[in-house]
Symmetry: C2
Subunit: 346 residues, 2 copies
């Protein structure tokens, strides 16, 4: 299997290197041949070539079996009036790969509940899979800017809603048969289209319980009863906000992975944390979000379920017994955590 890595900016290179080390150990132990090709994206690509996603990087991703990304962005490139921004590279990549379904699983490890801002009784049995629409909505709609006004258009077609919602229902069948669809149907036309589409598709899944929530209520419910949810499906921007909120429950953003999938097997895998410029280069970034993203890569793009589970169990062991990085209350650096995972896998 051929894997393209896009380390990107800030802590991206550090955590991506750790995840690659884990994939190499898996390859050795299970006798697979994985090849790796590193490409530029984001601020690093802008500095090198002026473009946030150089054509060579995109072509490499399109030819790969899977893409593993670190993070993009940072203060160096975040002037709101800059002509080109790191995030454009990531958005262009998501669109070009057609990875419309962004899966963000959330579980709260018992050993880390003390780090969560939420009271621990609320965290019992939290096991949510967010399915965020990733290639539509206001992220990709027409934009205008003049001296005295600006616009962003949010646009959804029925087909765009249908494919991601079906994915959510399919995933719910393999879990607890419960889909919560989040929209703002009392105000937005795109949300009304979203809701009617969910209602229609639900009829094809009589075994799955469906619930609709408004995005403002959902922002509250994620705190008051996070363990009432199974699969939560929503549009791009609402998913961006709600998954970061939910991530706070886990105690650290540094722990959480994501998988972005389209029609084929090829996927884009990235930790949900950002480039964390404040700690970049200091060797303290938590590599677990990136390592768990590599586990999702093994599962979804390479079909290697046993290998994915082996990585997840290794992480589970490290979370239980340590070493722990600073964001989760320990003193270990990126390499020490990586080595502990490697040993547990290997």
């Amino acid at each position: 299997a051929h894997i393209v890595t896009l380390p990107g900016d800030g802590v991206g290179p550090e955590v991506t290197a750790a995840a690659v080390a884990v994939l190499k150990t898996v390859a050795a132990r299970y006798e697979h041949a994985f090849t790796f090709d590193e490409q530029l994206i984001g601020g690093a690509a802008i500095d090198a070539s002026g473009e946030p996603l150089p054509a060579a990087a995109l072509a490499a991703c399109q030819a790969a079996d899977a893409v593993l990304l670190g993070a993009v962005g940072g203060p160096k490139w975040s002037d709101p009036n800059a002509p080109v921004r790191p995030e454009q590279g990531l958005l262009a990549l998501r669109a070009a790969l057609g990875v419309y379904a962004n899966l963000r699983p959330l579980q709260v490890h018992p050993a880390l509940a003390s780090l969560s801002p939420l009271k621990n009784d609320r965290l019992r049995n939290v096991d949510v899979l967010f399915v965020r629409e990733l290639t539509g909505g206001t992220y990709f709609g027409a934009k205008t800017r003049s001296a005295d006004a600006a616009t962003d258009e949010c646009r959804y077609t029925v087909a765009e809603v249908e494919r991601v919602v079906r994915r959510a229902f399919e995933l719910a069948r393999g879990r607890r048969q419960h889909v919560t669809s989040v929209d703002k149907a009392n105000v937005l036309e795109t949300s009304r289209l979203w809701r009617s589409t969910v209602q229609r598709i639900a009829a094809d899944y009589p075994d799955v319980k469906v619930e609709h929530q408004l995005v403002d209520s959902m922002a509250m419910l994620l705190l008051t009863r996070p363990n009432s949810y199974d699969v939560v499906v929503t549009e791009n921007l609402f998913g961006d906000i709600l998954t970061d909120e939910a991530a706070a429950l886990a105690g650290s953003l540094g722990l959480l992975p994501s998988a972005s999938l389209g029609e084929g097997r090829r996927g884009l895998y990235e930790p949900i944390h950002g480039s964390a410029p404040d700690i970049a280069g200091t060797g303290v970034a938590n590599p677990i979000g990136a390592i768990l993203s590599a586990a999702l890569l093994l599962r979804h793009s390479l079909g290697l379920e046993a290998e994915a589970t082996a990585v997840e169990s290794a992480v589970e062991q490290v979370l239980r017994y340590g070493p722990h990085s600073r964001d989760i209350g320990g003193h270990a650096g990126t390499d020490e955590v990586r080595d502990a995972v490697l040993e547990a896998v290997g």
Copy 2:
């Protein structure tokens, strides 16, 4: 002073009646003459007249010194394909009154910290004033719908951003001199306009510290360090989501008030909770959000600071010693809570 009441739907009439009783007690005790005029809005107005904001109701609001609203909406009117919806009445009213700045104060009462989903050490010193832009953005932009697609346009002019941001800076001067502006400037054009406008206006307030956060990060930061914020200003939809999330921290939505202000003194006051159809008519709704909204009305529209403070102190006493309604762990009904506040005021 002349006050129009719009009880609306669900628990709206019950909590509005309690707030009116408090205003009448204030009038008697402080020798003011308040006149009240009740009008229709929302589902109740649709049922009576086919329109969510009848012309007579709007005219009455425009002639009033202040408007006190209950809540709008409910399952009876929430078919996503219905031609007319209760929420349209509320949005039309906000626009017609020009109340572009929605103030939502958040404090966590020590007696209620045990109800919050957040660990209590995180709640110490939480005192945030959200300033949500209320008459622009995707709520009011052009919408389209066809059989296979829908659009919502988010639009902001510099003037719309400037007036609400200036209001936030002015409010911060009377508080802890710290403004946090929330946007999604790494993706949205309207957010880049928002951010540059905030940067420009900040120069007029050198005594106020300014911070920019992306909306996804902010959704997380509200949980991990809620006591680091003073005034938080943001656009309409982000404000809708973040203020509901923040409201969960207080232990119950039923406690929180809001004030919507424009250029003059006239304002629109409403609790932030919704119509709560599940408990409507059972006499158990918490009237405190509505009563505290009446206190804001006394302060902002009538300039009666001592009277506003008297109501807030009365509520403070009831929160400390009871009686408590069910949403905050007690057994008292709406009337019992109202009577306790009346006694403490009167």
